[in-house]
């Protein structure tokens, strides 16, 4: 294999943390959801790389399942965004206080 698996891990980690940063720093719920998609894809990349390294297609199957879950997650997340912000003037997650303890 021409590319060391460590490089895939590094790439995946960087992408993952970019996603983390997006979730943490952005207040636009849509961009936060997209950051989450980024994290999913970082994880998928790792699955793929390890499946290739181990020559075991369980990793690919799992990545497939992740894609499915990601689709479900995106659908529900967007539904929540829509239902939450339909009547609001602003779309800002900091303004949602329903979970306040």
């Amino acid at each position: 294999m021409p590319v060391d698996i460590g490089n895939y891990i590094a790439l995946s980690t960087v992408m993952f943390f970019i996603g983390v940063g997006g979730v943490l720093l952005r207040r636009n719920p849509l961009i936060m959801l997209m950051s989450i998609e980024l994290m999913f894809n970082a994880a998928n990349l790792l699955f793929m790389a390890f499946a290739r390294a181990w020559l075991a297609n369980a990793g690919q199957v799992f990545a497939f399942l992740v894609i499915t879950v990601a689709a479900a997650e995106a659908a529900i997340g967007l539904a929540i965004v829509v239902s939450t912000f339909r009547d609001e003037k602003n779309v800002d997650v900091d303004e949602i206080r329903l979970m306040r303890g």
Partner: protein, 662 residues
């Protein structure tokens, strides 16, 4: 089981035992359950139960004294818990037969007497229920063939005693006395329990026969410990120093109770226990020395304290304590037949003294202070003669019952090699004569002082007896025949039973009766013969009588009785008025320390440790809640950050602790 010592009865059942054992319980249940319906008939029910039990006991004489195949008495198995090592059963051998006879016989007379004494009491039926229950408990104690049954009876008589001392539960003093008696008795119960533990741990059986079969199995240290445990129990029940303080207070109970429980039967349970466990004591000379010494000490201390009491029942209570000291001394040093003989005669004459005192108390509307009596000889001649015979008997005047048994104990102490106890016994005999004649003289001679101002007599205001209970009778009226008859019947054994049974030394019926029970003893001849001992004792008694006569019965003393009594009351040394400070010392040693400990717990441990822990837990929960609540910002991104932070912590952990990712 050497030398004719038998602890297990002849094999085979003897169902009569169950009947005589359970009859008083049946009477108690009847009186208790149907008291309101029975009313005064409760007394007759109780007496009938007692009479039947007495009759059956007398019928069992032959069975109880039979000896066959090395076994003595009659045995009836009841139930087997752990076969071979833990069986309940009833055993009637000469020792328990004697006790059973006294319990049912004297018990019957006192029940009969109570019908007169308790007449008009609000809780007439309850009284008889308790009395019958007591008799049942006492029979359980003496008829049991194993230690556990004995301990059950031991506890039950303590319970019955508690009920009866506190019978007039509207008197705070009676309640306090009942509680005191119960608590001190429980100390003894626990000690016996530990002794039983030690026995069971060694011989793996609770039966008397197994426990006594091989006394060598225990080893001297453990045997001494067992004997001490048993003796602490005996001391608590039999009012031996230092566990005696409950007995004088127990006089708060009705007089028949004092006669039956706190003179004739229950308080002698300690004597029974030591006599029953004779093989153990024989094998442990140091335990014998302990028991004999405590007995002698109790005898003389009780006698001294009896000399300074004014309450007629308390005088008799200290006298009881002193006489039980004699008994314990006797059985303690190994003179079992003598000690048991003193129990036997004491049961009669002390019951008689108490019942006769009860006649006076009843007639004087619950007046118990002898200073407010006086001159009763002409008003109550029957009581006078009854008390006189009792006094003569307890003093050991020749040919009265007490003469034989007391001299047997005193001589036994010398014969078993305890000259000091011998001397103590003689001194005590003199003191006994003094305080008993003092009681007689002050009560019956001179003129009646009931109308004299109590302060004139040196009585403190607080020492006044409680107001007469409900149903108090008119002044100095003649008691009914119901009360006189038992006293009259008791005069007979008080005077004559000693001469009838115990005269004649080794060949007497008494000695023959107990010959198979206790191991035969060969003793070196005592330096002072039995006849000489009797003479010395008589000398001491004469001295005591002379002092009492000079102080209370001489013409001059009778004329100035009021002044002299006041002087004696007021000039009494503090040591004696405070009863040698036994209560104070016990109070200081146990009550105060536990109170202090309790206070410590209540003031420091409880609020700061227990409550503190609870409060701190609540505080921790609250502050944690506040802390966590501050995390619950409702800010979505903060939650995400916490998640990421946690994940990062995992990574750092693996990087540092788990050896890195490489």
């Amino acid at each position: 089981m050497s030398g004719g010592q038998h602890a297990m009865g002849v094999d085979g059942s003897y169902p009569l035992l169950i009947a005589l054992w359970l009859l008083p319980l049946g009477g108690a249940i009847l009186c208790w359950a149907f008291g309101p319906q029975l009313k005064t008939r409760a007394g007759w029910v109780a007496c009938a139960a007692m009479a039947a039990s007495l009759f059956l006991t007398a019928l069992s004489w032959g069975a109880g004294t039979q000896a066959a195949g090395g076994l003595l008495g009659a045995h009836q198995a009841l139930l087997s818990w752990i076969p071979g090592s833990f069986d309940f059963g009833l055993l009637l051998d000469p020792l328990s037969l004697l006790w059973a006879l006294i319990i049912t016989g004297v018990g019957f007379l006192i029940h009969f007497y109570s019908m007169g004494y308790m007449d008009g009491d609000r809780a007439y039926a309850r009284f008889f229920a308790y009395m019958n229950f007591f008799v049942f408990a006492m029979l359980t104690l003496v008829l049991s063939d194993n230690f556990v049954g004995l301990l059950i009876g031991w506890g039950l008589v303590g319970l019955a005693s508690y009920f009866l001392i506190g019978f007039w539960f509207d008197r705070p003093s009676a309640v306090a006395a009942a509680r005191k008696a119960f608590v001190i008795n429980v100390v003894g119960d626990v000690a016996i329990m530990f002794a039983i533990f030690a026995i069971v741990a060694t011989v793996h059986s609770t039966a008397f026969g197994d426990a006594f079969a091989a006394t060598g199995a225990y080893g001297p240290g453990l045997l001494f410990a067992i004997c001490v445990g048993l003796f602490v129990g005996a001391a608590a029940k039999s009012a031996q120093i230092p566990l005696h303080t409950w007995l004088p207070d127990a006089m708060e109970g009705p007089t028949p109770v004092s006669a039956l429980i706190h003179a004739a039967t229950m308080v002698t349970a300690g004597v029974y226990l030591i006599a029953r466990c004779a093989p153990l004591w024989d094998a442990s000379p140091s335990a014998q020395l302990l028991a004999g010494s405590i007995g002698g000490l109790t005898a003389i201390v009780g006698a001294i304290l009896g000399c300074v009491q004014w309450d007629i029942k308390r005088i008799l209570a200290y006298s009881t304590m002193s006489q039980i000291g004699y008994m314990i001394m006797g059985v303690g040093v190994g003179a079992y037949a003598g000690g048991v003989a003193h129990f036997f005669t004491h049961a009669f004459f002390k019951a008689q003294l108490f019942l006769a005192a009860g006649l006076i108390i009843h007639a004087l509307a619950n007046e118990q202070d002898v200073r407010r009596m006086g001159g009763l000889r002409t008003k109550m001649p029957f009581a006078f003669w009854a008390i006189l015979t009792g006094v003569l008997s307890i003093c050991g005047i020749p040919f009265f019952s007490g003469f034989f048994s007391k001299d047997a104990v005193i001589y036994g102490a010398l014969a078993h090699g305890h000259p000091w106890l011998y001397a103590v016994g003689i001194v005590t005999a003199g003191l006994t004569a003094y305080y008993m004649f003092r009681l007689l003289f002050v009560t019956f001679l001179g003129s009646y002082r009931g109308d004299v101002d109590p302060v004139e007599l040196g009585m403190r205001g607080a020492a006044l007896p409680p107001a007469p209970a409900a149903g108090g009778h008119a002044h100095a009226h003649a008691p009914a025949w119901i009360m006189n008859a038992p006293v009259g019947i008791l005069i007979l054994p008080t005077v004559a039973i000693g001469a009838a049974l115990m005269a004649g030394g080794e060949g007497s019926p008494w000695a023959r009766y107990f010959a198979p029970q206790f191991a035969a003893q060969t003793l070196p001849p005592a330096p002072i013969s039995e006849i000489a001992t009797s003479l010395i004792v008589l000398l001491a008694v004469a001295a005591g009588f002379a002092v009492a006569w000079q102080r209370y019965a001489a013409k001059n003393a009778q004329a100035n009785a009021v002044v002299r009594l006041r002087d004696e009351s007021l000039r009494m040394p503090a040591l004696l008025t405070n009863l040698f400070y036994f209560d104070a010392v016990i109070d200081l040693l146990f009550v105060r320390t536990s109170q202090l400990f309790g206070t410590l717990v209540a003031r420091v441990f409880d609020p700061h440790v227990i409550d503190g822990a609870v409060r701190e837990l609540a505080e921790i929960a609250r502050s944690t809640g506040t802390l966590v609540r501050s995390l619950e910002t409702g800010l979505l991104r903060a939650y995400a950050l916490i998640l990421a932070f946690g994940a990062a912590c995992f990574i750092v952990y693996y990087a540092l602790a788990a050896g890195g990712l490489r």
